[in-house]
């Protein structure tokens, strides 16, 4: 063997050992950096996608169909704040197109809580009851009084966002006046029930104090002495007592007892509700609100995910063994070399998955297993050519040489078409099946590229080892 061949073999060996090490050692730190690869909780330390470890996959759309990039990014930031505060490990939150957001929450099983947390704008506002002329007689009448002319004018009460004039400026008392980060869950000292505490900013506190001073002017039995605390009621006034519009049911309607110089508490909540509300108030307001319900939802049970992973690993192992057996049966010595290259291929690709790291999804796993079948195709084409050339009376050396050269155009063309498809799938992936297709496309692309490389270079180098040995004269072994 020539010196260059030794170097090539040494390089292959080096890559294989490195890849083997990186796959079978579950976690390690990348050299010269602090980043850690792998995980102790998964098979081979692979990074698992939602469909293999369980969790929720949601796609939200903004109410405004054409938000600016900054608005969408800001909204993603708010969602991230909320999700982080909720305590979800390694969420994926990213934009999808120009007006959508993908939220992936691995390991989350309480889908309802997750959706409550993310979708709602969580805009808090404080309202007062105002009497307005009743233009629609079907509405309930709260009060009617005689006009100066003696005519009876029908009136109705509605909740309007309260405002006070502070230092000559009209200040609306709503979520914008909250000091970010001030919200927290507390417990009522007497009843022990959960509540949300927060702080108004200076102008907000003053406006609130002035509002309460105004409300205590009403007699205690007058409904107008109530303060309405609303969540996500929108900008329009809400009807009193019954209003079917979403959000128009007040969270609370305390009767104001005295002038309140500080900030109110929101009581009467469930613990979960209190926790989610405080997280939402702290995370800030959406620059552009989302539609309440996700437009796409997919949730995977953790047990089903774990099952799918086990089944996938089993299928992969069975697949690779069957392919190896087939190759050895059909191509003997060449087949053994191809089986070895296939094992190298599998380990190298798995190590690439860990190195980047690629998130392994169910469809990605399918693509990888499928690629085990594709990977030997190039070898099949080459070996058939080698057989042909040996039958034509050539020595092993020149048969290998010519076999590789003649098979190359078909291998190149065949693999390029699959890579074209992988590229198209990747490109469309985010608009098909809400991003689930991309994992497949990426894995398929990597698989086809590396299978071609191993089939061409690794198989050839190993086959060349035999050339100088007595085995090379036993042509039957190679054809």
């Amino acid at each position: 063997m020539k010196r260059s061949q030794y170097i090539a073999l040494f390089l292959i060996l080096l890559i294989v050992v490195t890849a083997f090490f990186s796959v079978f050692v579950k976690t390690w730190t990348l050299p010269f950096t602090d980043s850690i690869r792998g995980s102790n909780d998964t098979p081979l330390g692979l990074t698992l996608g939602l469909d293999l470890q369980g969790g929720v996959h949601l796609v939200y759309e903004t109410v405004d169909p054409n938000p600016t990039v900054e608005q969408l990014e800001g909204t993603i930031e708010v969602i991230r704040n909320r999700v982080d505060a909720f305590g979800v490990a390694e969420p994926t939150i990213q934009s999808l197109g120009s007006n959508r957001v993908i939220v992936q929450l691995p390991g989350v099983q309480d889908v309802k809580a997750a959706k409550d947390l993310i979708g709602a704008p969580a805009v808090l506002d404080f309202r007062e009851l105002v009497l307005v002329p009743n233009l629609d007689n079907n509405d309930e009448q709260v009060d009617s009084k005689d006009d100066a002319d003696g005519e009876v004018e029908s009136l109705k009460a509605e909740w309007q966002i309260a405002s006070s004039t502070v230092e000559g400026e009209q200040i609306y008392i709503n979520g914008e006046r909250l000091i970010p980060g001030s919200a927290q869950v507390g417990f009522d000292p007497t009843t022990g029930s959960p509540e949300v505490l927060f702080q108004f900013d200076r102008q907000g506190s003053e406006a609130f104090r002035l509002l309460t001073r105004k409300l205590i002017e009403f007699p205690i039995e007058d409904p107008r002495r109530m303060l309405g605390i609303f969540l996500d009621a929108g900008d329009e006034p809400c009807g009193f007592a019954t209003d079917i519009n979403p959000g128009c049911t007040p969270l609370l309607t305390p009767v104001v007892q005295a002038e309140i110089p500080t900030s109110p508490r929101i009581t009467g909540l469930e613990l979960d509700q209190a926790r989610i509300l405080s997280i939402q108030l702290n995370a800030g307001a959406f620059p552009v609100p989302l539609k309440k319900n996700p437009i796409y939802e997919r949730d995977v049970d953790a047990f089903l995910g774990a099952d799918a992973l086990q089944e996938g690993l089993k299928a992969g192992l069975l697949g690779i063994i069957l392919v190896m057996l087939f190759m050895i049966m059909f191509y003997r010595m060449n087949g053994i070399v191809a089986a070895l290259s296939l094992a190298i291929y599998a380990v190298v690709v798995l190590s690439i998955f860990k190195l980047i790291p690629v998130i392994l999804t169910l469809s990605g796993m399918a693509a990888f297993i499928l690629s085990l079948g594709f990977a030997v195709d190039a070898n099949v084409l080459i070996f058939e050519r080698i057989k042909e050339e040996i039958r034509g009376g050539r020595s092993l050396g020149s048969a290998i040489e010519i076999g590789f050269n003649r098979a190359w155009p078909a291998i190149r063309d065949g693999n390029l078409t699959t890579m074209i498809i992988a590229a198209i799938l990747f490109w469309f992936g985010e608009r098909l099946g809400a991003g689930l297709v991309q994992g497949f496309a990426f894995t398929l692309g990597i698989g086809v590229l590396f299978s071609m490389l191993t089939a061409l270079f690794v198989t050839r180098r190993i086959l060349n080892i035999f050339l100088g040995t007595p085995l090379a004269r036993k042509l039957g072994l190679f054809s």
Binding site: D377, V380, L425, F428
Partner: protein, 306 residues
């Protein structure tokens, strides 16, 4: 020498019967349907430990909760798939169904919800993706075979073989769901589409192997007529064409036997498509090419005409 090419008319007839027969099952009652990813709606997969009957589930969904137009499918092993149109308030619908099914104490429940807007977009994007894929492959083959006369005809013949494979996969899936729909679930889902697109890239490989041989033999002028050259090339490369498909079939069978059931759509399409792809590279792509070049469909067996 075994003359495969002469009966090409027969192969086209055979393919047409399978495709038309299979596709017609799609229009006969419940069979292969679109998944909610393509038509929108809600799908609930629920698994129960204790024996639960279809009636019990039906009673909750359409009786207690009054959801109409639902399809409830049972897979025997305590596993149910419930498909419903999406209500106005999807969040509330999900909560109601969750609470409703809790009465039967399920082991697990999984919800998928797709709004009609995103479903419509998915359909459009799927069609565009297939279109772009087909055009990309056509352009690539015309370019790769620029050395031979009429490389355009090679490209179109290969694309016809691809269309053949996709149609056969859909036809067989249609027959399978029409007759065995109670034993497994098969729908046109995004994994089905992924299978179709993967096939577009993969089943073309067999065709390329044979076309590559035809190209080589034409340049070497091994035979005098195109018919003979193609026939010789097919016979020469049939073995490897079958073997490359076989290695892929082997891993697909491993996936089918022990792999995750949730990608069944994908495995099914791939298995049928890979088999059909091997067939079509020999009996469709090459034969279309010969028919086009010679303007003749060959002859039928048992006929004296030539």
């Amino acid at each position: 020498m075994w003359n495969i090419v002469q009966y090409r008319g027969l192969y086209f007839l055979f393919s047409a019967i399978i495709i038309l027969g299979g596709i017609s099952t799609l229009f006969m009652g419940p069979g292969l349907s679109l998944s909610i990813e393509f038509k929108g709606g809600a799908a609930v997969r629920a698994e129960f430990s204790q024996p639960v009957t279809q009636e019990e589930v039906e009673k909750i969904i359409s009786g207690q909760l009054q959801y109409e137009n639902g399809i409830i499918q049972s897979f025997g092993n305590g596993e149910f798939l419930i498909r419903l149109p999406l209500s106005e308030d999807a969040g509330n619908q999900e909560n109601e169904i969750r609470t409703g099914l809790e009465q039967l104490s399920p082991l697990n429940m999984n919800f998928d919800q797709v709004s009609p807007t995103i479903a419509k977009e998915t359909v459009v994007n799927a069609i565009i993706a297939i279109g772009v894929a087909v055009l990309g492959i056509l352009a690539f083959i015309i370019y790769a075979f620029r050395g031979v006369a009429h490389s355009f005809r090679y490209g179109v013949s290969a694309i016809l073989a691809l269309a053949h494979d996709i149609l056969v996969a859909i036809a067989v899936a249609g027959v399978a769901s029409a007759f065995f729909g109670n034993f497994f679930r098969l729908e046109i889902s995004s994994m089905f589409l992924v299978g179709v697109l993967t096939l577009l890239g993969y089943s073309i490989n067999d065709t390329i192997v044979i076309f590559d041989r035809i190209r080589e033999n034409l340049l070497r002028e091994t035979h005098t007529t195109l018919e003979e050259t193609v026939n010789f090339s097919i016979l020469e490369s049939m073995g490897r064409s079958i073997n490359t498909s076989f290695t892929t079939l082997v891993v697909l069978l491993a996936l089918l036997l022990v792999g995750p059931i949730s990608i069944f759509d994908f495995i099914f399409v791939m298995i049928i498509g890979v088999i059909s792809g091997t067939y079509s590279s020999i009996f469709t792509a090459s034969q279309v090419l010969v028919s086009w070049e010679t303007r003749s469909l060959g002859r039928m067996p048992f006929s004296n005409k030539r």
